[in-house]
Symmetry: C2
Subunit: 481 residues, 2 copies
């Protein structure tokens, strides 16, 4: 496309909204999946819904691909630009449009940061439940696009369980509205269809979120185990006791080491695995549950149990867990974060098999996971300066994903498919199902201009297991750092 | 279509699977929305998935409409046949294919009755949460098609919150599979899209359900009030206290009278409204919550409080509530059950406005509702033998639905759109949104042969508010009893 084509977009928008200088383009080249980058033709930074709509309509009329982006924290390359298209940056659309404490509903723009919703709701004793580790910077628009989870989705479910209505501009430039202010929707779950659509259907402009009453109190316990299996068994014991903790997380030794180095979180020394269990609720209820949890843990092989006595101690425990991904950088020059799901009861078996894969690959794997729902986050450590290590790490990641599929799980729990896992989709879904997904996408975006190249595999070879150049690199769409 | 066309379907199936004798056709003429009936060309009663698949593929190849049907309890005419098509009756597909207590998952066929799932799960201490009032006879396939709710969806959500995977045959005869065994799904919520699709996308053949641990104990309280507003205020007070009851139901005097006549449920005498609140959970937790609930109710204008002392007393309280719809028949020769949603906080206002509508129409309206989530079920009493009363009742129902829309609610909480409310869809959704819904339907069913005439309005005049003949009657598609 010639430069003059983008001039018509520039002319359509207020001055400075369309930018294509090198510095701006460089800032949008990659996202949380840092291994890859791609320079777009331009970036639009709208201040109003109207400007987003005008931009999308221009893209539709001119068949120009666009990628909507919030803070770019995607770990699957979901917000990576495309080389022949533009980025629509939504960070300026950061208003909480309304907050109705009586009906426990907030209507927000897509650029609102996750944690800001809870901050705004706090004076009313309310909060927004989904809590991805990146919640200090990630935006609600991105959370919707990837149906984000977080440590507390064991009890509260994913983003889609907390979005009751969406106003969106589709890839064909039409403004549509799904859902409302109630969890009881009409007909198919159109709102749920939009949640997790990874930007392929259009851009959410107004998102109606459900708020929950803030738990009166927390009871956070950190338990040390000498083996991963013991920690896994403890998770099963807690679930079988009938308790439903707000969160239940496991980190293994390598991840503990990283978190300790990053945040001095004071996790039990010599632990092969730590388990974090957090109960929450009204004071009286919690007292009863606390006693129950204590007796369940006493029945496991725990060698050390730390109970957070106050908010500060609770924050410290969580700081270790939430830093795990970034802290892995202290252990290794490079790492891949994986995201897969196995049936909860088969966690122990899955972790043993991941250890086998790790040994065979000669790469260390640090496991961190949402244990209550079987969502694994192996961190595969490697050194990109050693020839072949990235490829080995990708091969290792691929084997872990295939393991998840084989065990009846899933290739992603919360990070999404994005660029990273699109080639695994046909291993999860058969051809008629993939065909139907394509037809549904077509209903939103017949030109395939909304975030193209994500979620659906192309005709290229598998991405993660490819040795040498990534297929998108071969095609000149992206380049590696 | 000539009779010989159906002969090729008959030949395709084992003997006696295709039936078109008068007695069979008559049995399938109508569903829970008894005001209308329609005779199909034939009924297929498959015993295997393979026979369903073959039938749907035949329909696709021959462009013959089909309506899948379980027990036919739809209250919106959702399983009403079409005159130029066939009914596929799924009641023989009633196997629970697997039940995995460790992973708390059951895989069932569509003809399995709702309550049978809980019965099968009971020996493992588990149950299936969604509990429509018709749960003794309604089937899981129908629950999926209409995303059914029930008294306990306040705490547990609708059917879509409990279905984690679906294998379905689409209207184009393709076998597809969505979701899996985990709540963490990939990409858009395809499973949720299928839930609530009212049979327009195809037929679910295998449904993977989430099971929950049976609450250790229940605490069921029946509270009498002298005014509906007091009962409504009590609901708000309970919610604001931070308690999350499993269910919270209100019935007003006329509904109480009906329930009393039908089940001698012993509700407080002279109550203008009764509130049922049910807490559930482990014994210790319940003890704490019970005290909290007692003090909340003490702060309301309750004049009588009955606490169920045992399972028998609990069953008696629920028998009254669950009989309300059928019991209305004791008060009036005919009645319409409506289903709408208003924001919970505006319940009191909605009920007052319904009383105004009722007075103006000269018809009695008995209100029964899932108070915790603002889901109203007005029962509009009329006598079809009095000329004009049915039309007045339909007009009254239409006004109530418009009231729900105007108040920011919805035209259906759990009964679905079906035939009954399809003409209200454009009042809820604007044209671009309706267009998009049509395109999504087209992705599943380009020929529009799966349950045609439901959910989407045709070109006819509004259904419920039509005086004289229903538009489908004018078109000769259906006839009135």
């Amino acid at each position: 496309m010639s430069q003059s084509r983008f001039e018509s977009l520039r002319d359509l928008l207020p001055a400075d909204l369309f930018q294509d200088d090198d510095a701006t383009l460089a800032a949008f080249e990659s996202d949380g999946l840092t291994a890859f980058r791609c320079r777009p033709q331009g970036v639009v930074l709208p201040r109003t819904n109207e400007e987003v709509i005008r931009t999308v309509q221009w893209c539709h009329e001119n068949s120009v691909p666009f990628v909507a982006r919030g803070s770019g924290t995607s770990l699957s390359g979901g917000s990576m630009p495309v080389s022949d298209g533009i980025v629509i940056s939504l960070n300026r659309l950061q208003k909480i449009l309304s907050l109705d404490p009586d009906n426990r509903i907030a209507v927000v723009q897509p650029g609102v940061v996750n944690l800001q919703v809870s901050a705004a709701a706090a004076p009313h004793g309310l909060y927004y439940a989904p809590d991805p580790s990146s919640q200090k910077i990630c935006t609600i628009g991105g959370n919707v696009a990837f149906n984000s989870g977080g440590a507390h989705c064991l009890k509260y479910g994913m983003t889609s369980n907390h979005v009751v209505g969406i106003q969106a501009i589709t890839a064909t430039g039409k403004l549509v509205e799904f859902g409302g202010q109630s969890v009881e929707s009409i007909g198919p779950d159109w709102t749920g269809l939009f949640c997790g659509s990874e930007g392929l259907f259009g851009i959410a402009l107004e998102i109606t979120l459900r708020l929950l009453p803030k738990p009166e109190q927390f009871h956070t316990v950190l338990v040390g185990y000498h083996s991963l299996r013991d920690a896994g068994d403890a998770v099963s014991a807690v679930i079988e006791s009938g308790l439903l903790p707000g969160a239940m997380e496991i980190m293994e030794s390598l991840a503990i080491e990283a978190a300790e180095a990053a945040t001095a979180c004071g996790y039990p020394k010599d632990a092969e695995a730590v388990l974090i269990v957090e109960l929450e609720g009204p004071r009286e209820k919690l007292a009863a549950e606390q006693a129950q949890l204590e007796s369940v843990i006493a029945g496991t092989n725990a060698f050390e149990t730390v109970v957070a006595e106050n908010a500060e101690q609770r924050d410290k425990i969580w700081a270790g867990r939430k830093s795990a991904f970034s802290a892995a950088g202290l252990l290794s020059p490079d790492f891949l974060v994986q995201d897969g799901v196995v049936p909860r009861k088969r966690l122990g078996e899955a972790l043993e098999r991941i250890q086998v894969i790790s040994s065979a690959s000669g790469l260390r794997v640090a496991n961190v996971f949402h244990a209550g729902d079987g969502n694994l986050h192996p961190l595969i450590l490697f050194d990109d300066s050693v020839p072949g290590e990235l490829e080995r790490a990708e091969a290792c990641a691929g084997e872990i994903l295939r393991l998840c599929i084989e065990m009846g799980g899933s290739i992603t729990g919360e990070h999404g498919v994005g660029v990273e896992k699109r080639d695994f989709m046909p291993e999860m879904y058969d051809q008629p199902t993939m065909d139907l997904m394509h037809r549904l996408r077509h209903a939103f975006d017949p030109q395939q201009i909304a975030n193209p190249g994500k979620m659906f595999p192309g005709t290229e070879a598998p991405a993660l297991t490819a040795h040498g150049l990534h297929p998108l690199e071969k095609a000149g769409v992206i380049s590696r750092e």
